[in-house]
Structures are given as structure tokens and as C-alpha cells.
């Protein structure tokens, strides 16, 4: 069986961690061909060729593919689909935008956010914000799947797959890119960071989020936030961890001033070690924490930052 894997490419660069994790899931299904698509994608393709377990890389460069607009990207994947039993991608927002469109064009269901591979037709996926795990067997001839990256280890490097350049499909011309607002940060990327420090509504303001950021910087961590903190304007949307935000599983997750709503737990409860700091000892976050500290975060967090 043959697998086509849509690489995560941002501005011509391969998102190695997300792509390599999806390769781990995909190689259990068959020979993996990686598709690197973008306005510039050659460098991303070269990087993908080095991932262990990648048999072949296809590079498609075209202005229409520049910002991963759903319609031209889906058209490209559909034009290649005939050669593959599985079409997969890491479950990023880009892939979640594109893959259901691909599936519908192929008249098959999509399997979103798969967290486990049982066999070539059968997959596990969390439902109800991770409060249940469903095992589904696909009856479709082509399987279209996004893989939840937090549950797969990244494939190593050392491969040397052949790279082939291909053309784009016709751009349906339905939409155009206007702008990206991406905050520049020296911190690790949230979904691949080894340590994540997250703040919740308890932090109280955008200014006081600096406390969270200081602790994060001391730990070399990425910064996350609960939905309540993002909704309140304390933190930007791309920091949100949870059912509808990012799903993370770092070695260490520090939850500060986060009560632990179900939808937040959905995004972090697979972390190896969870620390919770909250002044409310009844907060549900303590039920998933390995180490809980019932304390005022405005005293505990600076003290912790100093003590580390």
C-alpha cells in the first residue's frame, strides 16, 4: 500500500516535528511519499527526504500554493490521489482546512485527529473532547486521515529519499491570501516544546501574563493559555491549548491559574508530568496534576521562577 503525506510547510520551510510525527504514524500503513507544496517548497522537500521512513518526496511549487489556501492545495492532492491507498497529514490547522475538502472531492469520509493506528483500515480517535476514544474502521477505498501529532514520536533523520518535482493543479481561483499576523517569538513552538507553561483566567490580565512568560523563559518553555484567558484577551489565540486549540503532550506542563475545564484538559492531559498552581483547592485541574500547589499564583510563580 502507498501513502501520500502532506508535509507541513510554512513559508517554504518544513515544520519538521509535525511532519516527522505524521511519518511515524504513516509508515505503519505503507510506503510513504511526502508532498511538499508551497510557493517555494524545494528546501522543505529536501528536508523531508531526510526523514527516516520516507520513500519518496514530491515537490510542487506554485504561487497558488503559497499560503496553503484550501482550494488549490486540495485540487493538487486530488490530482495525485489515484496512486495512493491513504492520504494523510499531521493534524495542524492547515491540514484540517484542506483534508476534509480532499475527502469530499474523493467521496470518502475523513478521519480527523487519529491518535492510534490499529491496522490499515482501523484507527483510534478521541471524541467528546477526549472523554471517549472511538475505534473506527473505514469502509472507503481511499483513507483520508489527519494524525494528532502529540501521540506519535517523531521519526528520526538519516533517510535519503528521491525528490521529484511536479506541477500544481489548476487553481480554482476562489480565494486569495491577504495577510498573516504571526507573532515572532524566540520561544519553542507550542506543539513540539518539551516544557509548556500555561496561564488561565486566574492570571487576571494581559500585563500579568508576564509572570507566566518569565517562568516559561526560565524553563526554556513554550507559553500556553486556557480558552478563558484567550477569550478575556490576556493571551493571543495561537497560545490556546484545548479541544479547539492546540493539543500538547510535553515532558512537563505547568498550569497556572487554570481551573481545568474539560475542554482544556482535552489539550494537555497526555503530558508526562503535570504541575498545577491554583488557589482554589477544589479546581478540577488538581485531579490530573502529578504535583499540585494550592497557592496564590502572584506569590508562587515568582518564587518558583527564582527557585529554579
Amino acid at each position: 500500500m502507498a501513502v501520500l503525506l502532506l508535509a507541513e510547510v510554512n513559508n517554504g520551510e518544513l515544520a519538521l516535528d509535525a511532519t516527522a510525527k505524521a511519518v511515524t504514524a504513516a509508515r505503519a500503513l505503507g510506503d510513504v511519499t511526502v508532498l511538499a507544496a508551497g510557493a517555494s517548497a524545494a528546501a522543505a522537500g529536501e528536508a523531508a527526504a531526510k526523514i527516516d521512513g520516507v520513500a519518496k518526496v514530491l515537490v510542487a511549487e506554485d504561487a497558488s500554493l503559497g499560503h496553503r489556501m484550501a482550494e488549490p492545495t486540495a485540487a493538487l492532492i486530488v490530482s495525485l490521489a489515484g496512486d495512493y491507498s491513504h492520504i494523510v497529514a499531521p493534524a495542524t490547522t492547515d491540514a484540517k482546512n484542506v483534508m476534509p475538502r480532499v475527502a469530499a472531492l474523493l467521496d470518502v469520509m475523513v478521519i480527523s485527529d487519529a491518535s492510534g493506528v490499529v491496522d490499515a483500515d482501523t484507527f483510534e480517535r478521541p471524541i467528546y473532547a477526549g472523554n471517549a476514544v472511538q475505534t473506527v474502521k473505514s469502509l472507503d477505498t481511499t483513507k483520508v486521515i489527519t494524525f494528532r501529532t502529540s501521540t506519535f514520536d517523531a521519526a528520526g533523520e538519516g533517510g535519503s529519499a528521491a525528490v521529484e518535482t511536479i506541477g500544481a493543479a489548476d487553481n480554482p481561483g476562489l480565494s486569495e491570501w491577504v495577510e498573516d499576523k504571526v507573532a515572532a517569538s524566540d520561544r519553542p513552538e507550542l506543539t513540539s516544546a518539551g516544557v509548556v507553561v500555561s496561564g488561565g483566567r486566574g492570571v487576571g490580565s494581559e500585563e500579568d501574563f508576564a509572570l507566566i512568560e518569565k517562568l516559561a523563559d526560565k524553563l526554556g518553555a513554550a507559553v500556553g493559555a486556557s480558552r478563558a484567558a484567550v477569550d478575556s484577551g490576556y493571551a493571543p489565540n495561537d497560545w490556546q491549548v484545548g479541544q479547539t486549540g492546540k493539543v500538547v503532550a510535553p515532558e512537563l506542563y505547568v498550569a497556572v491559574g487554570i481551573s481545568g475545564a474539560i475542554q482544556h484538559l482535552a489539550g494537555m492531559k497526555d503530558s508526562k508530568i503535570i504541575v498545577a498552581i491554583n488557589k482554589d483547592e477544589e479546581a478540577p485541574i488538581f485531579q490530573v496534576a502529578d504535583f499540585g500547589l494550592v497557592a496564590d499564583l502572584f506569590e508562587a510563580v515568582p518564587a518558583l521562577t527564582d527557585a529554579l
Partner: protein, 252 residues
């Protein structure tokens, strides 16, 4: 312009989900059900477009069991003009897959000819995040997913999207499918007089067969299980104790 909003009846987001002991699914008997929270945001946005004279009619659709009528009445009480209920299941445990839902919605779009479809980005039960994209594919329309801002400007819509790196703004041709994220708006509560008025608003009943759509699943559910639980942790007494525990565990 007519705006079509699909809404789904799901377990209320405050209810604790219980997996049935026989592994056959999640227990939905005698459980409080509500409108999918993302769909509420879509309904609200459609009503605001009407209030801003950018839309002249808001039609809500629900596909599922007959009890979804309550969900449609909620949308009508919020301010939608009329509703279409597509009876596609007898058992509340039957989840119609996004592909079949998209096919039924395509047939309704062909009939109703809306200028915009506003949908929730995902349903909080199956967490698929697929119906809007699938409908867009079947119609050959543009898609603007995960919207946190929407501005309709003639035959184009400017959509700001919540993406992994931050925000992306795109301009899509109308007609379009826009799926909404959490921060697009805060849905209103229906007032008592509006709840009463909603009972008199038109609600058409159809079946999946009326649209010639086969809703049999493509994904066979083999089993549904509880997620792995975490071993209980400990409460530490001080920051110093926390630091020493983290050092013992090799976490810092």
C-alpha cells in the same frame, strides 16, 4: 442575501460524558442536549448580518433525530427566520457523518440558493471539524474556515482565520462557506417573548430520502472506550517542595 446556518443537537457542553460499559458508545439517554456551541456563534453571526442589512433571511437547518426540532426552535428564538428539519435518524445515538450531512446540505443549498453558509467549525461530540470544508468541496465554493472576523463586502468576504501560527486573513469569492471559531462573537440569549414567537415561525420537515442521500456510515464504529486515566498525584505544601519533587522526577 439569504444565509443558511446548519445547527447540530449535541450533548450540552457542561454535561460529563459517560462511556457505556459495553463499549457501544457514549450514553445519551436522559442527558441534557443543546445546540453545538460553535453553531450558536454561527447563528448569532447570521442574525447580526441581517441586523446590519447585509442579509435578508436566515434559514437554519438541522439533520438528525426529530428532537433536533428543539435546537431549531432555539435558533428561531435567537432570531432566525425559518427552519428545516431533516429527519435522518431514529436513535439519538446515531451520528450522521459529516460527508452525508454535507451531501444533504448541498441539496438544500441547491434548492435555497443562499449567498452564504455559516457553520460551526466543529461539533463538540465527534470533534470532526469537517462538514463545512466538505460542503464547500461538493459545491465547488470557496471556504473560509475557523473565522474570528467576517466582513462581507459585495461579492467578496474578508475572513480572518485562527490558525496555528496566529491569524490569517483571506478574501473569498461569494457564495462562500464560512466556518466560525470561538471568538467571532458572543451569542445572545433568546428572550421569553422571542421564545414564544419562535413557536410560530415556519419549520419544514424533510427526510434524508427526500434529498436522495444515502446516510449509511463510511466509518464503522468498532468500539468506544474510556480514555486512559492518570495515576493520582500529590499536593505539595510549598514552592520549595515543588521544586525538589520536580528535580526528583527529572523534570527540571
Amino acid at each position: 442575501m439569504k444565509v443558511l446556518v446548519p445547527v447540530k443537537r449535541v450533548i450540552d457542553y457542561n454535561v460529563k460524558v459517560r462511556v457505556k460499559a459495553d463499549g457501544s458508545g457514549v450514553d445519551l439517554a436522559n442527558v441534557k442536549m443543546s445546540m453545538n456551541p460553535f453553531d450558536e456563534i454561527a447563528v448569532e453571526e447570521a442574525i447580526r448580518l441581517k441586523e446590519a442589512d447585509k442579509a435578508d433571511e436566515v434559514v437554519v437547518v438541522s439533520i438528525g433525530v426529530k428532537q433536533a426540532q428543539e435546537t431549531l426552535r432555539t435558533a428561531l428564538a435567537m432570531g432566525a427566520d425559518r427552519a428545516i428539519l431533516v429527519n435522518a435518524a431514529d436513535d439519538v445515538h446515531t451520528d450522521i457523518e459529516p460527508l452525508a450531512v454535507a451531501k444533504i446540505l448541498k441539496a438544500i443549498v441547491d434548492e435555497e440558493q443562499p449567498g452564504l453558509v455559516l457553520a460551526g467549525k466543529q461539533a463538540i461530540d465527534n470533534d470532526m471539524n469537517a462538514t463545512g470544508q466538505m460542503l464547500s468541496a461538493l459545491l465547488g465554493w470557496s471556504q473560509g474556515t475557523f473565522a474570528s472576523e467576517l466582513d462581507i463586502d459585495g461579492d467578496k468576504a474578508v475572513v480572518t482565520r485562527e490558525v496555528d501560527g496566529g491569524l490569517q486573513t483571506i478574501k473569498v469569492n461569494m457564495p462562500a462557506i464560512v466556518t466560525v471559531d470561538l471568538r467571532l462573537n458572543e451569542p445572545r440569549y433568546a428572550s421569553l417573548p422571542n421564545i414564544m414567537k419562535a413557536k410560530k415561525k415556519p419549520l419544514d420537515e424533510k427526510t434524508a430520502a427526500d434529498y436522495g442521500v444515502d446516510t449509511s456510515p463510511r466509518l464503522e464504529v468498532v468500539k468506544t472506550t474510556e480514555p486512559a486515566t492518570r495515576a493520582p498525584g500529590i499536593i505539595v505544601g510549598s514552592v520549595d517542595e515543588l521544586v525538589s519533587k520536580l528535580k526528583e522526577a527529572g523534570a527540571v
